[in-house]
Assembly symmetry: C2
Homo-oligomer: 308 residues x 2
């Protein structure tokens, strides 16, 4: 019986169509994001917020949140406001990172960056507006979730984006720019905070909304930290190997900026190996969940396989 | 008996020492703010956040929050994390407003602005960090308050600072700069959003934390909207009549920037009259609360009487 179950799970694994799954979820998320932010007076700020929020992207964070809500026995509906909030926070961090005073990027996802279209002042405010709205959206729009769980989500989102998360990672990243002697420890700090923290928040928030047991939340947290770091290593690799067209942003920028990256410390081959090893560890955390964890398994594989 | 009570209340009114009350509350708030944000790695961002958060100021928003918590039968302890969050949000809005891409101010509260000391990139991130931390702080540090009330606080704070509040007001303010034909309606929109929204959030949040009845929350909301607008009118008046030393920031800046202000629409005398009328309406809302509303009564009077 156990054997049959395993064979079935394995057969289902091989049949699991990740791209169709991602496309379906992406459509749901796009529609929810579109509905979340109607344009009212003063129109300019809502248009600026929507310009970046609806500029495409993989919607990986919302999709992870929805996936773990379902994994833990919850619904898409109860997780959707948090899923949207995660994308609002992610978008805010991109808008502010792209500013002239920060990374000074003109393009993002193949489109002009927010400040190139709306001006620096509006771009700063659009980021602030998205960050504030993320918390309001979770608090006001979440249905059928007990208030104490939502409060925990607010704490997790706040921590993931603040000085203990994204902001802290960005500060160390800015400090490290142009330095040729950045240690692996510092590089790990940057990416654990700039990338992995919000991915972890995405993964555990869905499970928490659905009332998952604490040991399962911890398991998912370890899964997320592993794929988060793998994601960044692959990003660094792609910055060297992919073309600008594939990336939708300036390629080779890290090299030009003399930025410390995993390939600059480990070389390309070792970087690929480390990413694969992290993905293997991530997937091992999912074993207990069985077949319902197939989307998370496939997403882990997808991270190392992606070309942009 | 009623008569005696009224006489007593009136005697207490005349004896109420607002400056001692404000000084005592300010000390409590300063200590709580100081404790709320220890410096850890990466030190620079925490130092930047603390530089502006602990740069003085009247602490009016936290004090209002603490006052209405007590008015509604709550404690200082249950309101303190929200009181600190209000000051974090206020500070964030000042840091971002002062940026070169916005109002381009070099001084604030008599000290160099955040970006003049830490650079633009860190100033943007310090604002983001304070905003995110405000929500985390309410969610994690609030004690003895039911989760559903805290969730309502999160929604109120998010709305007060986002595009429906502060950010929206700042956008219209930026759009109106240099225009000589700004309507009273637009000026009211700017200040109802830039100033009154967060003051209202401060006033109602304390009462909500303490479990006030909805009619009392509404009464306090009207009180707050009135003092919020009066506060701004007085700010505009002081920009013309006060010295730089009294203000701790560049005086006469509105005139130089050809900014629409209440005095520029109404003249000084009518502006003073309107502010007094708003304060009278604000105080009328407090009548039902009796003697326990004395601090709020005195704060309303203080707003028109202040010289900086």
């Amino acid at each position: 019986m156990v054997f049959t179950d395993e064979v079935q799970a394995s057969q289902q694994d091989s049949r699991f169509d990740l791209l169709a799954y991602l496309a379906e979820r992406q459509t749901l998320v796009e529609a929810a994001l579109d509905r979340s932010l109607p344009v009212i007076y003063p129109q300019k700020i809502y248009e600026a917020m929507r310009y970046s929020l609806l500029a495409g992207g993989k919607r990986l964070r919302p999709i992870l949140c929805l996936a773990t809500s379902e994994l833990a026995g919850g619904t898409l509906e109860m997780a959707m406001p948090t899923a949207c909030a995660l994308e609002m926070i992610h978008t805010m961090s991109l808008i502010h990172d792209d500013l002239p005073a920060m990374d000074n990027d003109d393009y993002r996802r193949g489109k002009l960056t927010n400040h190139k279209v709306f001006g620096e002042d509006i771009a700063i405010l659009a980021g602030d507006g998205l960050l504030a709205y993320a918390f309001e959206h979770v608090a006001v729009e979440s249905k059928q979730v007990p208030a104490d769980r939502l409060l925990r989500i607010v704490a997790i989102l706040g921590r993931a984006v603040g000085a203990a998360g994204l902001v802290g990672g960005q500060v160390v990243d800015l400090e490290s720019e142009g330095k040729t002697d950045v240690s692996l420890e510092t590089l790990n700090f940057i990416h654990n905070h700039k990338t992995a923290a919000l991915l972890e928040a995405s993964v555990i928030s869905g499970a928490i909304l659905a009332g998952a047991a604490e040991c399962d939340v911890q398991r998912l947290s370890r899964y997320a930290k592993n794929i988060g770091l793998a994601f960044q290593i692959v990003d660094d690799i792609l910055d060297i190997t992919a073309t600008q067209e594939e990336l939708g942003k300036t390629a080779g920028k890290d090299l030009q900026a003399q930025k410390a990256t995993y390939p600059s410390i480990w070389g390309l081959e070792e970087s690929r190996h480390q990413a694969q090893s992290l993905i293997k560890d991530a997937k091992a955390e999912l074993a207990e969940f069985g077949a319902p964890a197939r989307p998370l398994m496939a997403i882990a594989d997808f991270i190392t396989a992606r070309s942009h």
